[in-house]
Amino acid sequence: MIMQRTLRGAMVASTIAAALALPEPVVAQETQYFPIASSRVGPYSAMGTGYYGAQIDYLNYVNMNGGVNGVMLTWQECETEYNAVKTVECYQRLLQSDGQKIVVFDTLGTPGAYAVINRMRDDQVVLAQYGYGRTDAADGTVWPWVFNAAGHYWSQIAVKMRFMAEQEGGVENMRGKKIVHMHIDSAYGREPLPAMRGIAEAWGVEVVEIAVPPPGLEQQSQWLQVRRERPDWVTFWGAGSGMNSTGMTNAARIGFPRDRLIYVTFGAAEEDMYPAGDSAVGTYAMANALPGRDYPLVKAIQEQVYGAGQGNLADESRIGSVYWNRGLGAAVMWVEALRNAQEMHGKVGQPVTGAEFRDGYEALNMTEARLQEIGIGGMVAPFQMSCEEHGGAGKFAVMQWNGDKFVRVGDWQEPLDPDYIRQLITESAAKYAAENNLTPRTCP
């Protein structure tokens, strides 16, 4: 008995001693991997450096503050040059890293989004189109893996037309007016037309469509047509600061008033305005994320991330610019979706799968209070997602360029008839489903 006790004691003692002698067990740090399909060179570099720069800055900021419930965020970057073929290549390259698959993909461009959109279902990856891309993806029953949060093009054109109506003194005063839709000659340029034509017909407005061949540095004949048409308003749907700035200089050359010219969100950045100089003054532009440095989160990133010398922008003065803030808005949604996914699936402190991330995305409820808490209250419009509603707020703000910066004009606005826009989306998505033999899912 004594022998047994002694033996047992010796074994316990030796086990404790062995345990003490061993190095401390290494607890693997949980990570969640994100793809950055950036476009830092080429004609859309101004957009890409700002937008993706902000995403990386925010991921860094989250990591500096302990990650998402302890899960550290990792990422890999791939250069697409805003080219659809290279976007597919980058998607393939970024899809997996260290055994972990991406849960979200963001192309920052309609051509790239269309190039990968049909892979999302099979790969179980969320395509987060932040204010761009395929509009009828707002119908989550047909497009379970695609979102166009922060508003889509049909809402945007509807808000533009609402703004025009307000300037004219009401919808009743729009009858007989003429609007030129000048757009880059691509699917992106024509994307808003179904909604625009429908609203115009209902209001008794004439729409004249004028296409500009890419890259859009030559627009003289188009603006001569504008001069002949004598429209009341021009909506400009350009891509790349070359086309966008040329639009304003040409408007100035024919004496078209800039306060009758409204730019799309992808022509609404400081980089689009600067090259046009005085010709840009007075131009209206749409925003789904307002510029500015006074938002607490923007200040915190500047202090913490850039203070530590880890900022992604080469030119720090671009913090708070339109594209940087837009990228920040997009990245905030990723992190919020991840947080939701962890909580919904009992995986707090653990990485999530694409399907779980999708659930987290659909559970996004960015109330004004939550946006304030995050530190971007007022920068983006409050919104809520659901299984059916993948389009977010559908709200936009109008800004006006004063020669130095954008000045906000009015509050966040939604289309005057959101039900009509939703009806268009549902019809378009149903048509797609029928053409592709898809059975729309049933939402709870």
């Binding site: 830092r40 061949p213 540095l217 001569l224 047509q225 050359r253 090259p275």
Partner: protein, 300 residues
């Protein structure tokens, strides 16, 4: 506005746009005259030159100093191209040279963005791009001072280069090199010096073209695509003709503007991107040497 006045304005806009295309086409012609090679890097040279010019101005250099410094930089680019690319590929096929210029274009694009960054810059030449009030008030024409300047600069450059190549020894040497580099070298024409001079001249032309385009559209990567605008100009004017560059530019400018305004709406608009190429194809079918190009007669 009467329809006739509008038509006149469309034609005028086409001519003004055409002179801008001519400036870009001129750089291609210079290289083609010397080496019978289509220099795919010309668009990148436009971008490289004007980005360097704006970058130097941002560093605090005055306008004139920045211009001279950039011109010297383009001479250096020409020198490096001659020494590192052309000389090792001398006597290779034209296809090889063509591929080399494509590669050179990518190098210049990347280098420019790596050195000066990718931000879009504004270039203020002090020349307004607003309608000249007198023309608006008296003739109802919306022509800007920048339009007029572009036309004058293009005409002056083309005139100077045409005279230079017709009446100087270097011009004569250039023509000899273009006809038969081997024979030209055997009679003592300094091939290397001529190539260097031509690439330097093409670089300086690229700088001027970039400055005028940059003043209108901002200094940015999209300027690289201007090469695509110059191609039909060259096919119509002739790849080796300096006057052909301006005539081809005017034809393309007027054709694309009139077609866009009067025919474009029936095709959904945006036809000026491809309409010049349709015209160019007709030229390739019926007059492949272009209006001013040399007719090549080969012995069978």
């Amino acid at each position: 506005m009467t329809e006739f006045l509008f038509f006149f304005e469309v034609v005028l806009a086409g001519m003004l746009a055409g002179t801008m295309y001519s400036l870009v086409a001129l750089g291609f012609v210079l290289i083609y005259k010397a080496s019978s090679t289509f220099n795919f890097a010309q668009g990148a040279m436009v971008f490289f030159a004007v980005l360097a010019f704006v970058g130097l101005m941002e560093l605090g250099l005055p306008f004139g100093v920045a211009f001279v410094a950039t011109a010297l930089l383009m001479v250096a680019v020409g020198y490096c191209t001659e020494r590192l690319v052309l000389e090792p590929l001398m006597n290779q096929s034209h296809d090889t040279m063509l591929m080399a210029t494509i590669g050179l274009g990518f190098v210049l694009e990347g280098l420019a963005q790596a050195v000066w960054g990718v931000e879009v810059r504004r270039l203020d030449l002090g020349i307004g791009d607003f309608p000249i009030p007198w023309l608006v008030d008296n003739l109802g024409l919306f022509v800007s001072a920048l339009d007029v300047t572009a036309g004058v600069v293009a005409a002056a450059l083309i005139g100077t280069l045409a005279l230079l190549f017709k009446y100087t020894k270097m011009g004569l040497g250039l023509r000899a090199v273009a006809d038969d580099p081997g024979a030209a070298a055997s009679i003592g024409i300094p091939l290397k010096n001529i190539m260097l001079a031509v690439w330097s001249a093409a670089g300086i032309v690229a700088l001027v073209a970039g400055m005028l385009w940059g003043a209108r559209a901002g200094v940015q990567f999209a300027l690289v695509d201007l090469a695509l605008k110059a191609l039909p100009v060259l096919i119509i004017g002739g790849f080796s003709s300096i006057p052909g560059a301006i005539v081809g530019g005017l034809i393309i400018g007027v054709t694309e503007k009139t077609l866009e305004v009067y025919i474009g709406p029936y095709f959904g608009g945006g036809i000026e991107g491809w309409a010049p190429y349709v015209l160019a194809i007709f030229f390739l079918l019926y007059r492949p040497e272009g209006l001013f190009g040399e007719k090549i007669i080969r012995r069978v």
